[in-house]
Amino acid sequence: MLWTARMHIFVIAFSIIMTQNTLQPADITDELLATYETVIGLEVHCQLLTESKLFARDVNRFGTEPNTNIGPLTLALPGTLPKINKKAIEYAVRLGLACGCSISRKTTFDRKNYFYPDLPKGYQISQDKKPICENGGVAISFKNAEGKTTDKVIRFHHIHLEEDAGKSVHEGDQEETLLDYNRAGTPLVEMVSEPDLRSAEETGAFVTEIRRLVRYLGISDGNMEEGSLRCDVNVSVRKYGAPEYGTKVEIKNMNSIRNMMRAISFEERRQVALVESDGQVQQETRMFDVDNGQTYGMRVKETMNDYRYFPDPDLSPVVISEEWLSAITSAMPALPHELREKFVNQYGIPTYDAMVLTDTKEIADYFEAVCNKTPAYKTVSNWLMGPVKSFLNENGGDIALFPVSPQSLADLIDLAESGTVSNSVATQKIFPVLLAEPQREPKEIAATNNWLQNSNTNELESLVDEVINSMPDKVAAYRKGKKGLIGLFVGEVMKKSNNTADPKLVNQLLAKKL
């Protein structure tokens, strides 16, 4: 008896130890997770929208036939020499200025040496000792764990220029790795952040802001799915208050901001599970699996990176003169935060509206174009965030596909503002016609369909009388105190007027007569 009980206790104790040793990410409760701090730093690579490559004349374009944009330099043929693309320097400076970086007035290129089939030269031309931009950062706004909107600045360590590698392609049962060198040598800026990020939400907001920024600056299309914006995410965890960072893991292979946030959420739980089980986080590179939302280690032999950087003797330093820097500065396009401030101050729209309307440069430009044609700024904002946005959502979200010109939309808004047509006629009747036949004028559409608002008091008065006379019971009930019936009377008058009556006027007339 005693023996069995002891055995039983032993089994329980043993199984507790076993469970502790094998904590899974899913076992980590939110309460436990909340006792850990996640520390995140990013390396964001962004492809620059130049015509040619960083050091060669080859065409820089996504989605062309494999191996058609590859010249002698890209193939690393003997005797070829790189020559820097001035536009790429300018774009990097533009980004640096937008992020408040200090711009290196003399910047140099270094060779990063390693052998891999997607790198024909056996080294990547990058920047190590003197990158083009240092420090600076990006302001983000995000919802914290309590759901409160929080502002924060994420600092950059530096931004540097480098050439991209080619692409390895694996096709079905093909025995070999296929190589497409179209991308080899195309220009990238790499933004290296300080480990300032603390959650998936913050990181999502950070990358969203960077994507918005490079699009505003016109230097990249920031398309994560096509890989023109790629993030390597360094994640570690530590108990709150711990003086040292935990061991970090680098995650790659995420093709959307959402997937990047999923990867971080999984990885923080995985690392906490390891630490809680008295295990060790391995310093390694992990990939994200879209299908199961997990990260997995790559089965490659981890040799210590030894890139043996040294200054590329084929490339002379770049010196950015005072004149050139001020020319780039004065040609800077307006930035999202500048437009937000302008929209609030100049057009008097709420901060929330300004946030939504500066989401993309195209929407912001459209808003300004309409505001140049009508003074009803807040109404313009309502239209863009309401009916126009609905149309865009149904049609792929691109304002370039919105058929109505700023002038037409301004005319329509003026019609409604002046009371020439009612708001509901403007949004529900004229707007759909305008979408289908954008070349027509809003006023002509309203007139042709007899949608002009009726503000003729005499005419309306007789309609009001008709309605009152036709419903004696309801009128009596109303007079006894069933005031809610007013809506019914208004509705009847509107119906009789073919929806052209001015509802405000109808209300006034009814109130007087009843």
Binding site: N67, F115, S316
Partner: protein
């Protein structure tokens, strides 16, 4: 000796060089003399001296952003030991 066999083979591997055993001693000796010379250079006080990254004074040897392709795909792939009509092929690099 400032360099040992292990370091030699590590450097050789990073540069993808094959070293024959009979070459080892000579290469070790030669590398050692290079490193000794580096040590001599290191004795010089370079406080306040700009790093010399390039021998020439040339700067801003850049070009404007004009694109043109100079090789056809057939020409570009001509020297590849292994290829199909569209790609250069190499032994599989991932499992």
């Amino acid at each position: 000796m400032k360099i040992d066999r292990e370091a030699l083979y590590k450097v050789a591997h990073l540069a993808r060089l094959d070293i024959r055993p009979e070459e080892e001693d000579a290469i070790l000796k030669s590398m050692d003399s290079v490193l000794n010379w580096m040590d001599q250079l290191n004795e010089i006080d370079t406080e306040g001296v700009e790093p010399l990254t390039h021998i020439s004074d040339e700067v801003n040897s850049w070009r404007s952003d004009n694109a043109s392709n100079t090789l056809s795909r057939t020409e570009a792939l001509a020297n590849a030991p292994l290829k199909n009509e569209r790609y250069i092929m190499v032994p599989k690099v991932i499992e």
